[in-house]
């Protein structure tokens, strides 16, 4: 290699590669997100307070609105708890177990993300509805139906959050615990679970956020007797009570934002914990 092949004509001339300049890029992105996301949300919040704070309060404390919010929170909590247990279990089986068809099973986990929500609801009705193959009399228009639909659409969150953490988990710790005489359950509870907890919680928070707002998979299953908040809002819009719909929407939005910031907080903590 000749030492003179690379002459450096402009030692300090490097400029960051640019597409129309950093400020222009930043401006376009800010404008795009503002028009697409910020402006509609701002319109929603403004509108909910249009007729004053008292009217806002009246709308969200109407018995039907409270019942809808309550139902939403209850079913969301139930499915989150089930997801935390079953999601962790499925992730465990997919990472630690070996059997034929595991690869296919692993890809199918994402199906609820890919399948349109209205189809998700319809598939469950086709199987469990009163005329279905495994027909249940109390599926459509019951809490069981709503919870099943929510479990379907939120299935991937905990599984996909736990899998990578479980993959990286050092098995030496488990073996050390075992060799010191800890039983399988003790090892799981004292060694594995504390390491997985941040991932489980992150997945659970996403599942909760999704369940709180879910609409498509519930519209055919919930009917009038199981009116969750999203369906309540939809009916208020159809009935012309825009202020009421906007007020309950703002409450849902608030719940979502609290969860969103919660996720980021958990995320930051777990990243720190990893290192």
């Amino acid at each position: 290699m000749g030492s003179t092949t690379l002459a450096l004509p402009r030692p300090a001339a490097y400029k960051r590669p640019r597409l129309g300049g950093a400020y222009a890029q930043r401006g376009i992105v800010t404008l795009w997100l503002s028009v697409m996301v910020l402006l509609p949300i701002a319109a929603l919040i403004t509108r909910s307070f249009d007729e004053g704070l008292a009217e806002f309060w009246d709308e969200i404390t109407r018995p039907e609105a409270i019942a809808a919010l309550e139902l939403t929170l209850v079913v969301s909590l139930v499915i989150v708890l089930i997801n935390m247990v079953m999601g962790t279990l499925i992730a465990w089986v997919l990472i630690r177990d070996e059997f034929r068809g595991k690869g296919i099973l692993n890809s199918i986990i994402d199906l609820p993300f890919a399948l349109p929500t209205i189809v998700a609801g319809l598939t469950l009705i086709a199987l469990y509805g009163s005329n279905g193959f495994l027909g249940l009399d109390n599926f459509v228009a019951t809490k069981l139906g709503v919870i099943t639909a929510l479990l379907f659409v939120t299935l991937p969150f905990v599984v996909r959050a736990v899998q990578p953490t479980l993959l990286e988990l050092d098995r030496d710790m488990e073996e050390a615990a075992a060799s010191l005489g800890a039983g399988p359950l003790t090892t799981f509870r004292r060694i594995v679970l504390p390491n997985l907890a941040p991932a489980v919680l992150a997945g659970a928070a996403l599942a909760f956020a999704r369940a709180v707002g879910e609409f498509g998979s519930l519209i055919l299953i919930a009917k009038a007797t199981q009116e969750v908040s999203s369906i309540y809002i939809f009916k208020q819009v159809e009935g012309g009570n825009i202020t009421g719909a906007a007020a309950v929407s703002v409450v849902l939005l608030l719940v979502s934002l609290v969860i969103l910031f919660g996720i980021n907080f958990i995320g930051r903590r777990s990243v720190k914990y990893d290192r």
Binding site: A13, P17, W32, M86, L105, L111, L115, P184
Partner: protein, 300 residues
Amino acid sequence: MTANAASLGQGRASKWGLRTVALVYLGLLLILPVIGIFFEAISYGIGTAIDAVTTPEAQHAFFLTIVMCLIAVPLNTIFGVLTALVLVRQKFRGKAFLNALIDLPFAISPVVIGLALLLLYGPRDSWLGEWFFENGIQIIFSPIGMAIATTFVSLPFVVREVEPVLREIGTDQEQAASTLGASGWQTFWRITLPAIRWGVTYGVVLATARALGEFGAVSVVSSNVAGETETVPLFVARQYELLGDHVAGAYSASIVLAILALLTLASMNLIRRRDKVAATPTTIAIAPQVTEPTDEEDPR
């Protein structure tokens, strides 16, 4: 790992137990229902099923759904790549705020998104809609509003898939290209884009799947007129509620959507095999920022 028999699930009995519980749960919740819908559609007779999705109304619904995707996905791809570039490569005040805005479409109920758009673009009592309406452009209750809703709900995917890849590739090659005299556009087309192509593809696949199937936001801003403002998911819901023979239409249109979803899964798998960074399991979990890509794990 036979020495590790004491770990949960490694013992023979508990291993089979856990596997059985997982399989039964997934079978009842996921696999049987999806198989069931195929049988349900066929149970009306294959002829009926085919007739039901080839009526002019159904054809228009498919046409409109494709149009929605063709508007939302390219928009979200172009702006998504640009947004990812800005978020990864630039430091500025308010970046955290923009970051939070990108997550909103995942965090908000589709119905709330629809309502928000109604209040911004509606023909009456809205911020911008009245002006458009007076100038002869109706946004809400027309395909324009439905396209905006579809774009809104599928906005985060490309950004969130491209970000980790951009962080991973760094700027060394771009700097080299630039030093050798390449312009900003040349660097982008020849260096950056090829490096992030699988991340972009993955984001496009996810955004398309979401755009195809969006129901809640679109149903609020649509006038729900068959053959005019009805996408396939809206068609499915209406056919189902019409009862009688129409239910066959709901199921057979659902099958088309389910097949598209399975194709989505297949392409996700293909891409995942091609590029691990673009498609680690967490990134699809719509879990922004939950797990930063770890530095230790470098598949290249």
